[in-house]
Symmetry: C2
Subunit: 256 residues, 2 copies
């Protein structure tokens, strides 16, 4: 309903860095995200094979779409740097954030089933992604078994992640949802070499609320409660986790 006003721009051709010798040099084999991203588990020689899989890069500025619901599906995207959200918009204006994605994670798999994207992908900070043309990914998957395997794992994990969100939305109370959300972010930041205790939220309270099935006021109140209980400290988007154990305990004890 509250259509966030942000620059509207996802012209496909714009900001696409063409493949050149220099860009190739910075493809998977040279990328420090390869242990988190699509090449995970591949041998050196296999990674070399998938280097030319990346059909270019694209910068997506904060607030801009990487793709929109309805766009034809042509490629999936690996986040080189930055932060995204995906959301679905109903005709009546209601929307639901379906996920937040960070460096090394894959975007766009929603489009495979129907050849059309079914959600919107929007950068929450200035970002850069690697374009992986899907036809080529399938082609190479037929040749490189480890790539095939890992791509299937990536899709499966997305399904499992979605089940976790369903659990959260279906059975958890507001504070549990937020605790789970913070712990999940912390864990993913840690995997990327950042502090587990301290990070900046890239999204608004409203976006967190949409993801967690709560109103922004409820999110804000839960943050304040956590702060009162010395579980975290919050200042706007800056979060410091003071008692991760306390947050975890919140998760396992359902209220009366």
């Amino acid at each position: 309903m509250t259509q966030i006003k942000r620059p509207d721009d996802n012209v496909q051709s714009q900001n696409v860095v063409p493949i050149t010798l220099t860009s190739l040099k910075a493809a998977c084999s040279q990328c420090n995200l390869r242990e988190l991203c699509l090449p995970y588990g591949l041998s050196e020689t296999e990674i070399a094979q998938i280097d030319h899989l990346v059909g270019g890069r694209r910068k997506v500025k904060r607030g801009h779409h990487l793709y929109r619901a309805g766009d034809p599906f042509e490629a999936i995207y690996a986040i080189k740097m930055g932060f995204f959200k995906t959301d679905i918009l109903l005709e009546d204006g209601r929307d639901q954030v379906t996920g937040f994605q960070m460096a090394g994670e894959i975007l766009g798999m929603d489009g495979i089933g129907t050849d059309v994207h079914t959600c919107n992908s929007i950068a929450l900070e200035d970002s850069e992604i690697c374009i992986i043309p899907f036809v080529q990914l399938e082609q190479l998957s037929r040749e490189v078994q480890a790539l095939q395997r890992h791509f299937h794992q990536v899709m499966s994990r997305e399904i499992v992640r979605d089940h976790g969100v369903m659990m959260l939305l279906g059975t958890m109370r507001a504070e549990e949802r937020l605790a789970a959300f913070l712990l999940n972010l912390s864990q993913r930041f840690t995997a990327r070499g950042y502090s587990p205790q301290e990070f900046h939220l890239r999204m608004t309270r409203e976006e967190i609320g949409s993801y967690l099935g709560l109103k922004l006021e409820t999110v804000s109140r839960a943050f304040s409660r956590f702060q009162d209980d010395d579980l975290i400290s919050v200042h706007q988007k800056h979060i410091r986790i003071l008692d991760a154990g306390g947050l975890k305990r919140l998760l396992n004890h359902q209220a009366p």
Copy 2:
């Protein structure tokens, strides 16, 4: 929390119909579900190729598990006949039904990512499934492009379906959720040649509630309200949809 008491039995070896000439004869190329199931979109010759993909059949009696969270992942399963639910169980006893599956649909993709199943799959009526050993599926996917493509589509559609459930759980009111649920069931029964208006629910109110993030009493009350409004008629598990348009209208009008 309410652990439903049902026979406990998913011994893998039991009830597995071994591959014989006769069982092969009834594999994909002879199966009347092939337009709904994994072979969809494949040519006659391609379907012939995947006939020996099915590593046997297995009957699963009502209330029994096809697999459990924690079981090693080895195969995915195509439902030949019957009806299943999948659910996740939290340590504290809370559980969430993550889906209901019917003939032609694929089960088990949750296990690909970690080589271990992450949810439970339970038959809601006496059922029979085709076992598709995953190693062989990947093998054949590397050879038959159309199979690869379609398998990716099946996984992607599962992701999109999950997004729809997230939308439902995150933004819809109780009656909208139930209306969406009924319309979805109706549409899937129709695709299988059954009546769009009239069907038997295979699941309890509690299971519907778990899936929709509601309590069973709320589900029951919503059914009664729909009946009062002449949208449906309900008698226990027997449903007749009287006004599909009315149900659809419920979906698009969010309450004040």
